[in-house]
Amino acid sequence: MDKYVNLFYVIAAIFFILGIKKLSHPKTARSGNALAAFGMFIAIISTLVTYTALDYLYIFAGILIGSIIGVIFAQKVEMTAMPQMVAIFNGFGGGASSLVASAEFLSSPDSTYFIVCISVFIGSLTFTGSFVAFGKLQGFISGKPITFKGQQILNALLVLVALLLIIAPNLVFDSNIHSGNLSAFFVVIILALLLGIGLTIPIGGADMPVVISLLNSYSGVAAASTGFVLMNNGLIISGALVGASGLILTNIMCKGMNRSLANVIFGAVGSEQDSTSGSDGKQINIKSYSTEETAMILDAAEKVIVVPGYGLAVAQAQHAVREIADFLENKGKTVLYAIHPVAGRMPGHMNVLLAEANISYDKLKDLDEINPEFEDCDVAMVLGANDVVNPAARHDTSSPIYGMPILNVDKSRTVMINKRTMNPGFAGIQNELFGYDNSIMVFGDAKDMLTDLLKDLKEL
């Protein structure tokens, strides 16, 4: 071991640090990824150069095979399947850590049993956990939480036994240290593999991204512990980095879902996307978004059309709308207002409302003016409006509002609909728009929602 290799590991670590930092900002994310990849390149090359007596044949064969598989996976996977891909990769990483630790242990069993076990335990757990997550997302395993009585107790038991075996193997197995350790070692592996499955299977598909993020953090810890086994600074630093930042990311993701990590892991709720059946029994599948995600969408938009309805007046959110619009306009976006002739509860209701917030008359467009504009509109923000954007009026001859001209919000790239519930509007009819592919629902009182949205927009 040359002493300079550690220097290179530090350099690699610096690249990782900068990479992760940049990855968390939209503008620099791509270059961040490249930096991290370059750091990895440094780490690998310096290892190959410094360590002697390596089995280069195996190594190159391994790298070649791994690269080919990795490239194929990365190229072939569909964009929608990204999360499960990450899960697999993560599983492989965890597996690798655990294999390396095992190799070290098996060839020289006097290497610290404790630390090897930790490494193997976490690595194996990550391995199976990741594959379960993959299976759930890919649909190989039901996305629904799979639960049974005593599940938590069983998991707890697995952990306890494994811990016991890691700390004091000889209490259980052969008092001969070496053979005792060996037996315990294998049992720990099996327990960890089971635990990975046991922990992941009760979590619903919707929560999988959080789980993957958590497992990612674990695989960092696994790498770090392997680092301790090999006394290798590179693994330790990088592993610790990933372990810590992964945990923070997991936490951020949980917060975004308004849940605690504990709730995600042990909640076993992992509910699916809401689905609501209207009075006529038709099922509508909707996508419910947080204001944070909505802010991201608005941020990317160039042209936004606000569609105010009675709900906006009920919420008295006229000033909040104006604040959002001001903010977007300051960012160089176009904001228009689409006023449907019967929006609200009296003729001109929306005019009175928006005049209160001093919204300039030239931004208010009536139905005929605005409908062609939806075609190249990025986001239509439907705020407390319902009947006036119901596409049934266009095509459903049985609808009581069939024939009424509506605002064609569904023609815009994204339709963001804010209301408090899935209740119908004045006409008492269900609105299929809410289930359209380009529709997203943001539930809540319009004023509260807009206030949060503004906050999130400012924080981007």
Partner: protein, 378 residues
Amino acid sequence: MIIAIPKEYNNGENRVAATPQSVKEYIQSGLEVWIESGAGEKSFYSNQDYIDAGAKLISSSEELFTNSDILIKVDPPTLDESRILKNNSIFVSLFQTVKHKNIIEIFLDKKITAFSMHLIPRTTLAQKMDALSSQSNIAGYMAVLMGATHLPVYMPLLMTAAGTIPPAKVLVLGAGVAGLQAIATSNRLGAQVEAFDVRPEVKEQVESLGAKFIEVAQDTPDGVGEGGYAKETSDEYKQKQQLLIKEKISKSNLVITTALIPGKPAPVLISKDVVDVMKPGAVIMDLAAENGGNCELTEIDQTINYNGVIIDGTANIPGKMPFHASQLYGKNIASLITYFLIAGKPVIDLEDEIISGSIFTHEGQITHQPTIDFFDRG
């Protein structure tokens, strides 16, 4: 097919049933348009405007009534006018069936297909024909302006070198379309607005305009009738209402009343003894004057001063804003007529909710149930 627009001769009626814009619509739908000379004058539409739009100018009213297949008006016809209507023709105007029994009898006789713009269903789809909405909206808006002009005080709060002027207190009784618009307009002028109505769902609507809703504590929410209209309400309710109203009114500067119950006289919300406790200089705008008034003292089409309280009983307030009133009314009627025209010919489909809802005589029959009930009662 001839569609005819006569001039309105009623006192204070400045509106007209078609604007040059709607004339164009009719011609596009394949109708021939006749208009009485000077019909649009008081609404600031000149004869020339109509001729330019393609209408034929007729100088005699009689000629219109006797020759047209569709006759559209603002006000109901006089008895004489209805007698000369062409048999089997279509007639459309604002028309309160319970007020014109003898005209209906003539209509039945002549097999007139008569529509009342009062009867257009209050559904989302029928909104564009909803003349009650468009005209009530004007009434609510104008009532505030007229009331504010009567008032000896400012509407908004003002803090000036010569003292602080408190905002005027406005009370709106009955928050249908007119009431809501009155709330909105008073609010704009900076007054402190409170409102109330027997229909409980109106609370949210009042608040959506930034005003305060006054609630009469009640046990059973039974103020709502069919089709969104208010029913005459229980005695006990009325009592409580009277008390609360009395208290609020005594503190108000401007009271705007709009309470109506279709087919019945307007409910009396302000009796004489309530007016007695009002402040001098207070004003009551009674938008229900035409149907008897919400105030006991209201005299139709008169502005009286009762012990310093001004009570304005102008019946036809939309007529005071004739340009836009005619434009909106003209559009409402045109929407109805183009709705039942197929290739330039009227097709009366009694299965259709809007048609059946707004028609009251057809082929010699009364088709409107409350009117039938009314005739049955005698």
